[in-house]
Symmetry: C3
Subunit: 397 residues, 3 copies
Amino acid sequence: MEFAQYHDRLQRTAAEKNSEFADNGQLLHLINGGQLTPNSIDLLCDLADRIRLLSREKATAAALQTLLSHRRAMLYFTQPSTRTFLSFMAACQILGLTCNEVRDPKTSSEVKRESRMDAIRMFSSYFDVIIMRSPLSSFAEACSYLMNDLRREERRWVPIINAGSGSDEHPTQALLDIYTLKRSFRFQDREGSGQRFADLKTRHPDLTKGFAHKTYTFCGDIGRGRTVRSLATALSQYENTTMHFVAPDVAALRLDSQLRDQLAKRNVSVFEHETLDSDFQGRSVLSQTDCLYMTRIQREHNSADDENRLEEMDLSPFQLTPERASKLKEYTPILHPFPRDSQVQEIPEAIDLDPRAMYFRQARNGMWARAALLAHIFGVAEELEEIETHSHGRKTI
Amino acid sequence: MEFAQYHDRLQRTAAEKNSEFADNGQLLHLINGGQLTPNSIDLLCDLADRIRLLSREKATAAALQTLLSHRRAMLYFTQPSTRTFLSFMAACQILGLTCNEVRDPKTSSEVKRESRMDAIRMFSSYFDVIIMRSPLSSFAEACSYLMNDLRREERRWVPIINAGSGSDEHPTQALLDIYTLKRSFRFQDREGSGQRFADLKTRHPDLTKGFAHKTYTFCGDIGRGRTVRSLATALSQYENTTMHFVAPDVAALRLDSQLRDQLAKRNVSVFEHETLDSDFQGRSVLSQTDCLYMTRIQREHNSADDENRLEEMDLSPFQLTPERASKLKEYTPILHPFPRDSQVQEIPEAIDLDPRAMYFRQARNGMWARAALLAHIFGVAEELEEIETHSHGRKTI
Amino acid sequence: MEFAQYHDRLQRTAAEKNSEFADNGQLLHLINGGQLTPNSIDLLCDLADRIRLLSREKATAAALQTLLSHRRAMLYFTQPSTRTFLSFMAACQILGLTCNEVRDPKTSSEVKRESRMDAIRMFSSYFDVIIMRSPLSSFAEACSYLMNDLRREERRWVPIINAGSGSDEHPTQALLDIYTLKRSFRFQDREGSGQRFADLKTRHPDLTKGFAHKTYTFCGDIGRGRTVRSLATALSQYENTTMHFVAPDVAALRLDSQLRDQLAKRNVSVFEHETLDSDFQGRSVLSQTDCLYMTRIQREHNSADDENRLEEMDLSPFQLTPERASKLKEYTPILHPFPRDSQVQEIPEAIDLDPRAMYFRQARNGMWARAALLAHIFGVAEELEEIETHSHGRKTI
C-alpha cells in the first residue's frame, strides 16, 4: 500500500487532520478545502486585495518582489495542468519567489526506483516550498506528514501546497472562486465607491454584502467537478444559503449523496434540476440566482459507456445562452473554472463582454489568491504593511 | 474555418493591417515584417545599440534589469525552435522581464477542447506580453485582433509578438538581420572610430554607409526561406539596391514570382543564378557583392520527390568555399540565419575565423534586437535615457 | 569520428589536459575530477561555507543574489538528471544567475543537421556559462577546447562546467561528497564549538581533523559508480588512507584494475570484500571505518545477463541494516549519492534519523558546493568579502 507509514493519519477525520496543518492560526500547509474557514478566507482575501493593489505601481510591485526573493519554490506537477501551473508561477513571481519545476511524471529518479518520499525530501533540501499536483489523491497529504515529522525533530522542513490531488481536493481553486465571489459581493463600482450598492438596494431591498443569505446555482458536471464540491463546501459555512444543482441525468454527473448530506447537515437548502430553465417556487431558478457557477462536462474522465450516453444526449439545457443570461439578476456574477468546451459551448463567446462574466477575471484572481497564500505561509504580512506605509507616505508627501 | 471571427480583417492588405498594429508610431504588436519601415528600423536599432552598451557594465546591466522587472512574459512556442526561444528568453532577462513558457503543442487545455483564443486570453490574464511561435500562419495576427478588440473595450489587453508563424512571417529574424547589416554598414573598427571607413574609401571610392546603393547576394533556399523574403522585402525600401538570388534549379527553392514582382515594383534590380560562380556584367557576382546572405537547404519541408532530386543534385555550387570567400570584397559581411547544415556545409568551418563572418554575432545581435523591441513595446525608452545619464554622470565624476 | 578536430588534445594525459582548464590557479572550466586538487578543494569548500552562511539572513542572501545577476547560465542537459539539474538551478539562483535550459536530447536544430559544436557556440552567444550533462563522454571536454580556442583568438568565450559526461566524469558530485566529508571531519557541534572534537578525542585518541589518516569504506556498485571512482581518486591525494571496497562478486560491479592501480600508486592501502560483515585484521571492517560511502546497484546499466545474475543474487550483504550501523564509530558519516533503491533498500528508512546519516544534507551541500564553483569561475570572491564585511559591520554596530 502506498504511504503505508502514514496509514493511520490518512484515516482520520478532516477536522483531526486540519489541526495538524496549522499552528496557532498560521497555515503550515494547504492540503484540503476544509482548511478554508471563514477566518482563513477573510485573512487570505484581505492579503490578496492588498497584493493586487501594490502590484499596480512599479515601485510597490518592485518592493513586493523583494518579499520572498531569498526563497525558492518547487512546482512539482506530475499531473499536467497548464492553467494552475502558470497561475502559481505568476503568483510566485509577484513575490519574487524563484520558481523551479518538475513536470514529467517519469522523472529519472523514478526509473532508478527512488521512493516518492525520498524525491520529496530531496526537493525540500533545495527548495523552500513544494507546490504539488498529482494524480495520487493522498500524496500531498502524506508529504505534509513527512514534513511535520521533520519539523518535530527540528530538522529542515518546508510547507506543502496542494495544487490538485487526483479527483479529490484542489483547495486553491476553491480559494480563487471564493475570492472572486467576495469581490463581487461587495457590489462596488470600479472606483470602489459605495454608490453601486446603494443603487442596487433600491431595486433589491434584501441584498446584503458577503456570502450569507444568497442563492447559488451550479450547472454542468456536478458529480465529478472537484471545484463544485470545494466551493459548495466552503460556502456552506455561511448562514442561510440556497444551492441549486443543474446537471444531466447521468449518475456520475449528478450531485452525489455524500456532498448532499454534508450540505444538509450545515442547513443549506439544496435542490436539483435537469435544465437551466427550471422553475423553483413558481419563478425561474435563474431569476433567483445570486451567483451562477458554470462548469464543463469533463469528457476526459468518461468511460466508453458514459461517452456514448453523452454523445446522444442533448446538452443544450446546460448552456448559458444569451436568452438565459438575460434572466439573471443585474448583479449576478457568472463564474466558470475554465477551460470551457469550445464544442459544447456551455458559455458561448457571446457572453464574454457581459459585465457579469467573471471567468477571465477569475483566472487573474487566482494569481492574487495564490500569491496571498504564499505570503501568509511565509509569514510576510508584516513586511507587506511596511511597503504599504512607505508607499502611502511617499504619496502624501 | 479557423479564426472565422476575424475573417474579414485577415483578408485585408498588409498596409491596412499594419495600421492596426501601431498607434501613433508606437508599435502595439509586431506581427509582420512589413511593419519594419525605415523609421521603425532606425528606432529599434538605436535602442538595440544602447541596450548592448549598457549591458557591458555590471551597474548599468543591473539597472537595465529593473526596467521591466514588474512585467511577466509568456513565450508560447507550439512550434519548436530552440534558437529563437533562447534568444527571446535572453532578451527578456536583459530587461528583467520574468519569463514563462508553454512549449508543448498538446497542452492539457487543448485536450479539454479549449479554443485557441480562450487559451490566449487566459495567458493575457497572467502575463503582460505574449511572444508566440506557431505553425498556424494567421494565429498571431488573429490574437492581435482579439487584443485590439479588448483594448477598444477598455479591458485588459497585452502586446503580441510574432516569433514565427508557419512559413509566413518571422519579423524579429528580419530585424536581427537588418540590425547586423546596419552595424556592418557603419564600417567602424572595434573602438568605434571612423578611421576604417576612411581607409575603405581609398580603395572603394563609391562606398557609402547604410543600406542604400548596395548589392545583396542571397544564396541557398530562396523559395522557402522565410528569412530571405523578409530581409529582401525590408531592404527593398532603400534606394538603388541590386539583389542576386543564387538557388538550385528546383521550383520550390527558387525565387518565387510574388517576391520578384514585389521587389520589381520597388525598383530593385533583381537577378537569378544557379551557382555562386556566376558572372554579372563581365565580373563575378561575388566580387560585386556588398552583403552575402547564405541559407540552409531546408530538408525538413521536403516532399519525398524533392528529397530524391536533392539527393542526386550537386550542392557544391551553393557552398561558400574559402576560394569563393576570397573573391568577396574585404568588407562584405557574411550572414546566415543558422543552423547551418553540417553535412552539406554551405558554410564550412574554415570560414568561421574570417573577420567578415557575422553569423555567430548575428545570433547575439538577435538578443539585443529583441530586447530593443520589448523596450519599445513597453515604452521604457525614457527610463533607458535616465540610466544612460546617470551612468555617464558617474563616469565623469 | 566525433570531435575529430580535437582528436590529439583528447588523447593527452589528465595532467596535460588539466593545465589547459585553468589559468594561474583560476579554473576556466571544470571538466575532470582530477582538477580537484587539495588546493582547489580548500578554496571551493571555503567559498561554499561562506555562501551557506550568507544565505541564512535575508539581507545577505539578497546581496548574494546581486553577485551574478547580470549573468545568464545555460543548463544543457541532454542526459536526464533531475537531481543534478535542480541542484545547479538552485546554485545559480543563490548567486542571482539567470537560468535557461535545454533538456530535450532531440532539439530542433539537431533535426536540422546542426553540428554539436555550432549549438554550443550558439549558446555561448546568449549565455555566460554552459553547464552541460551528456551521454557522450568527451563532449564537455571538446567544448572547453572550442572555448579555449576562441579565447586565444580574443573572441567571445564562456566557461564550461561538466555536470556528468557519460559514465566518465561527474566532478561536481565528487566536490559535494568531499565538501560533506570536510564538514564532517571538522567534528564540530552545531554551534561550531570545538568541544565535540575534544570529547571524541578522549574516546578516539588517534582522531585527527581532515581527510588524512582515515579509513574509507565504499559499498555497493563499485565498478560502475562514477561517484566512487571520483571520490576515491580525490581522497587518494591525502596522506595515510585505507580504503575498503565492498561489492558483489560480479566483474562489472567490483573495483576495476585501473582504479586499483591508480590508488596503489598513491600509496593507498586497498582491500576488497564481499559483505559489509567482513573482518579486517581481526576486527570488523565497519568498526574501523571513518566514513561509509553507500551506493545503489545501478540496474539501468545492466545487460540482460547481469540482470539475471543480480535477480538471483542475495543483496543483503550490501545493506546498511540498523544492526550494522550500530557497529560504526559514533562519528562515522554515512554518505550516499542518491537516489537509493526503494526495493533493494541498501539504506533502509530506519537509518534516516540517525545523526550520522548525511545523505539528505549531502544534497543540500551539493547546492552550496556548486554555488561556490560558480562564484569561483566568475571571480566574485572579492565581492563576497565585501558582503561579509558589510554584514559584519552592521551586526556589530
